[in-house]
C-alpha cells in the first residue's frame, strides 16, 4: 500500500529539518571545523597568511607550562565545585520540598545566582571579600582573625573562586533535583511507611535516593560540564592571577587567542577542551542508558 517509511517523501523530511540542520552547521559544526583547521596552522589573528604546521600545536601542549597549570586548576576547580554544589543542591532541594511554607520564595532565592549576571555578581563578590573593607573580613575581625586577601593570595584564590562557583551552581542543581523529586510518586512513600520505612533517613534511602538516581547522574555530569566552563569570575576578578594560581582552561584559550593573537595555539587548546567535554557527554549517555533506568 504505502512505500517504505518516508520513501517517497524524503524531500519533505529534509525540508522540515532544514532550519535545524542549517543552524547546526552554521553555529556548531562550521565553527568547530574552522577551529580544527586553524589548530593545524600557525595563524596569528590579523595576519595575512598562515602556514600549515601539522600537529605541532598539539605536540607543544604537554610541554606548555601555562596549559599544564590551567588544566590542573580547572580539574581542581571542578573537583571542588561539582561534588559540593551537587550535594548542596540536593540538600536544598530536600529542604525546600519539605518546607511547610514559603516554597516558592526559597526556590526563587536559591535560583537567583543562576539567573543573575555573573560578571556583575563577581564585582559584588570582590567587594564582599575585599581585604580591608569587605564584610567577610570585618566578620573575621570580630572573631579576632587577621584579614585575609582571599582573591589576592595564590593559596586561597582557587578555593575562593570555587566557593563563588558553588554559590552560583547549587541553585541550578537544586532546581534539577526539585524536578526529580516531583516525579517520585507519593504513593511510594506511603507504601514505604506501611512497610515500616517511615523515619526520614529510611525514607531517603528506600525511596528518594534510588528514584533520584537518573536525576543525580544527570546533575553530576551537567555540574562537571558547567564547572569546567568557569570563565567569567576569573576574567572579571583575577585575570588568572596571582601568579597563574587561578589560570583556567577557558581563560587561557581566551588569553592566547585574543590577548596574544596566537590563534593556532588557542585553537589546539579549544579542540582538547572540546574533546574532554565530548567524552563526558558520551559517558553520561552510556551510563544513563544502562544502570539507572529501572527497566
Amino acid at each position: 500500500m504505502t512505500g517504505k517509511p518516508g520513501g517517497g517523501r524524503g524531500w519533505l523530511a529534509w525540508l522540515l529539518i532544514a532550519p535545524a540542520v542549517l543552524g547546526l552547521v552554521l553555529f556548531v559544526l562550521g565553527p568547530t571545523i574552522a577551529v580544527a583547521v586553524m589548530s593545524l596552522t600557525d595563524w596569528q589573528l590579523g595576519a595575512a597568511e598562515a602556514a600549515f604546521v601539522g600537529l605541532d600545536n598539539y605536540a607543544a601542549l604537554p610541554g606548555d607550562r601555562v596549559f599544564r597549570i590551567a588544566l590542573a586548576n580547572t580539574l581542581v576547580y571542578g573537583a571542588i565545585v561539582t561534588p559540593v554544589s551537587v550535594l548542596l543542591g540536593l540538600g536544598l532541594a530536600l529542604l525546600v520540598e519539605g518546607a511547610p511554607a514559603g516554597r516558592t520564595f526559597f526556590r526563587s532565592a536559591f535560583f537567583l545566582p543562576v539567573v543573575s549576571t555573573t560578571v556583575a555578581m563577581a564585582v559584588v563578590w570582590e567587594f564582599l571579600l575585599h581585604p580591608s573593607m569587605g564584610p567577610a573580613n570585618l566578620l573575621l575581625g570580630t572573631l579576632g582573625i587577621a584579614p585575609q586577601n582571599f582573591l589576592g593570595h595564590a593559596g586561597t584564590v582557587l578555593p575562593t573562586l570555587a566557593a563563588i562557583g558553588i554559590w552560583e551552581n547549587a541553585g541550578f542543581n537544586m532546581v534539577l533535583f526539585l524536578a526529580g523529586l516531583k516525579s517520585i510518586p507519593r504513593e511510594l512513600y506511603q507504601a514505604a511507611a506501611v512497610d515500616g520505612a517511615d523515619r526520614p533517613w529510611e525514607r531517603f534511602w528506600t525511596v528518594t535516593f534510588p528514584l533520584l538516581g537518573p536525576t543525580l547522574l544527570f546533575v553530576v555530569v551537567i555540574a562537571l560540564l558547567r564547572s569546567f566552563k568557569v570563565f567569567e569570575t576569573v576574567a572579571a576578578i583575577t585575570q588568572g592571577g596571582p601568579r597563574r594560581a587561578s589560570e583556567v582552561l577557558l581563560y587561557t584559550i581566551y588569553q592566547e587567542g585574543f590577548g596574544f593573537f596566537r590563534i593556532g595555539h588557542a585553537s589546539a587548546l579549544t579542540m582538547v577542551f572540546l574533546a574532554g567535554l565530548l567524552v563526558l557527554a558520551l559517558v553520561q549517555i552510556r551510563l544513563l542508558d544502562r544502570r539507572v533506568h529501572y527497566r
Binding site: 510518586p185 504513593e187 511510594l188 506511603q190 507504601a191 514505604a192 511507611a193 506501611v194 512497610d195 515500616g196 520505612a197 517511615d198 529510611e202 528506600t206 525511596v207 534510588p210 528514584l211 538516581g213 529501572y294 527497566r295
Partner: protein, 393 residues
C-alpha cells in the same frame, strides 16, 4: 486474628466533607468489602485505617485499642495500593522482602555489606529469603524473583504487591481495588486466589472495590458507601434482597433494578393504575408522608411476562432483547418506569420476543421493594393487587 472497629470517622478536605460519620466493625478474620461509586471516600477511609491520613473525628481500634496516634508502622497493617506502588529500583524479591527487612533487621544490619561481618545478620537474611520464597511460591512468582517491576505484566505486578502485603502476616489487610487493572480472565482468577488465601491465613481484611460483582463473590459482608456515608452493611444476600436505600438497590445487582413510580394510597400503594395492598411495619414517615410519591424497586427476576390482557398485567413495549444463551433479558418501556424496565426471561421467550412488540408484565408482589421520598427503604409486605381496574385519581 484481630478485630477492627471504625468508629464515627469524619474527614473533610478543605470545605468538602469526604467521610461523614463512618462506623464499621470487623470480627476476627472477617473479609469486608467496601463498595461505592468513584469518589465516595473508599480510599480515604482505607488510608485513615492505615494511618496514612488523619481523621478529623472518630477513632480506629484494633482489638479494641485505639490506634489513632500510631503511625502506619505501629499499626502493623499491610496495604495493597490501587497503583501497586512497587519500588521500581528493587527486584521482585527485594520488593517482597522490604517489610521483613525493615521489621527484623536493625539499622546497622541493613547496611549492604553487613552480612559479611555478622553471623546473626546472615541468619536473619536467610530467614527472610525463606519467607519471601514461600510467599512467592504461593503467588506463583518464583520464576520472577530477579526481575524488576518494570519487566512485569500488570497481573504479575499485582501479585508482587499482594506478596509484599502477605509476607509480614500483618494484623489487618487493606486492599484498595487491587484488581482494577487486570483483564477479565486474570481478574476472576486472582479474585479466587485472594479469597482463598485470606480464608487460609485468617487475616482480617478490608477490600475496597467499585466492582460490586467482586464484592458479592469474595466478601463475607459488604458495606455500601455513597458520598461519604455508609448506607448499609450486610451479607451479599442481605444487601441484594433488602437494600436499605434506593441508592444501594440501584448500585448492587446487574442488571440494574427497575424503578417504578408509585403513590401511597389508603390501604396500600397505587402502581400502574392498581391498588396493591401493603402492610407497613411502621406507618411510613410516621404518617407524615401522606399520599406522597414513592418508588418501587423490582429486580429483573421479580417480573412475570404474559398476555397484556391477562389479570394484573401492565402493558409494556419491548425495546430490545438480550439473548444470553441459558436465559435472556427483556428491556421494556412502560409508563410507570421512566428509565425503562429490565426483566429476566427464559431463553425460549428471549428467542421469540421482537422489539416493538407489546407484552404484559406483572411484578411479583413478594419481590417489591418500597422506597420513601428520601430514598430510604419502607418496610412493608405487599399483597396481590386488586383485580378490578381502579380509577387513577
Amino acid at each position: 486474628m484481630t478485630t477492627l472497629d471504625i468508629v464515627g470517622i469524619e474527614k473533610s478536605f478543605g470545605a468538602t466533607p469526604v467521610l461523614r460519620d463512618v462506623s464499621l466493625a470487623l470480627g476476627h478474620g472477617e473479609f469486608l468489602a467496601i463498595v461505592g461509586p468513584s469518589g465516595c471516600g473508599k480510599s480515604t477511609l482505607l488510608r485513615i485505617v492505615a494511618g496514612l491520613e488523619a481523621a478529623d473525628r472518630g477513632s480506629v481500634r484494633l482489638d479494641g485499642q485505639p490506634v489513632d496516634a500510631l503511625p502506619p508502622k505501629g499499626r502493623d497493617v499491610a496495604m495493597v495500593f490501587q497503583s501497586y506502588a512497587l519500588y521500581p529500583h528493587m527486584t521482585v524479591a527485594q520488593n517482597i522482602a522490604l517489610p521483613l527487612v525493615m521489621r527484623d533487621l536493625d539499622r546497622r544490619q541493613r547496611l549492604p555489606g553487613w552480612r559479611l561481618v555478622s553471623a546473626a545478620t546472615r541468619a536473619a537474611r536467610r530467614r527472610i529469603a525463606g519467607t519471601v520464597a514461600e510467599a512467592a511460591d504461593m503467588l506463583q512468582l518464583s520464576a520472577l524473583l530477579d526481575r524488576r517491576p518494570g519487566q512485569l505484566s500488570g497481573g504479575q505486578r499485582q501479585r508482587v504487591a499482594l506478596a509484599r502485603a502477605l509476607v509480614r502476616r500483618p494484623r489487618i489487610f487493606l486492599l484498595d481495588e487491587p484488581l482494577s487493572n487486570l483483564d477479565a480472565t486474570l481478574r476472576t482468577q486472582t479474585r479466587n486466589e485472594i479469597a482463598q488465601l485470606q480464608r487460609r491465613l485468617g487475616v482480617t481484611t478490608v477490600y475496597v472495590t467499585h466492582d460490586q460483582v467482586e464484592a458479592m463473590t469474595m466478601a463475607t459482608r459488604i458495606a455500601v458507601m455513597f458520598e461519604g456515608r455508609v448506607h448499609q452493611v450486610g451479607t451479599p444476600e442481605e444487601v441484594y434482597r433488602s437494600p436499605a436505600s434506593l441508592a444501594v438497590a440501584e448500585f448492587v445487582g446487574t442488571p440494574r433494578i427497575t424503578v417504578l413510580d408509585a403513590r401511597l394510597a389508603p390501604g396500600g400503594v397505587m402502581l400502574g393504575g392498581r391498588l396493591w395492598p401493603a402492610a407497613f411495619a411502621a406507618p411510613p414517615g410516621g404518617g407524615a408522608i401522606g399520599p406522597a410519591d414513592i418508588r418501587v424497586g423490582v429486580r429483573p427476576e421479580g417480573f412475570v411476562l404474559g398476555d397484556p390482557a391477562g389479570p394484573g398485567m401492565l402493558a409494556a413495549r419491548v425495546s430490545h432483547v438480550e439473548y444470553l444463551g441459558s436465559e435472556g433479558l427483556a428491556h421494556l418501556l412502560l409508563d410507570a418506569a421512566p428509565r425503562g424496565a429490565v426483566a429476566r426471561i427464559d431463553a425460549g421467550l428471549a428467542g421469540r420476543l421482537r422489539p416493538g412488540e407489546t407484552v404484559g408484565v406483572r411484578p411479583d408482589p413478594a419481590g417489591l421493594l418500597l422506597f420513601g421520598p428520601d430514598g430510604r427503604r419502607l418496610d412493608a409486605r405487599v399483597g396481590q393487587p386488586s383485580s378490578a381496574m381502579a380509577e387513577a385519581s
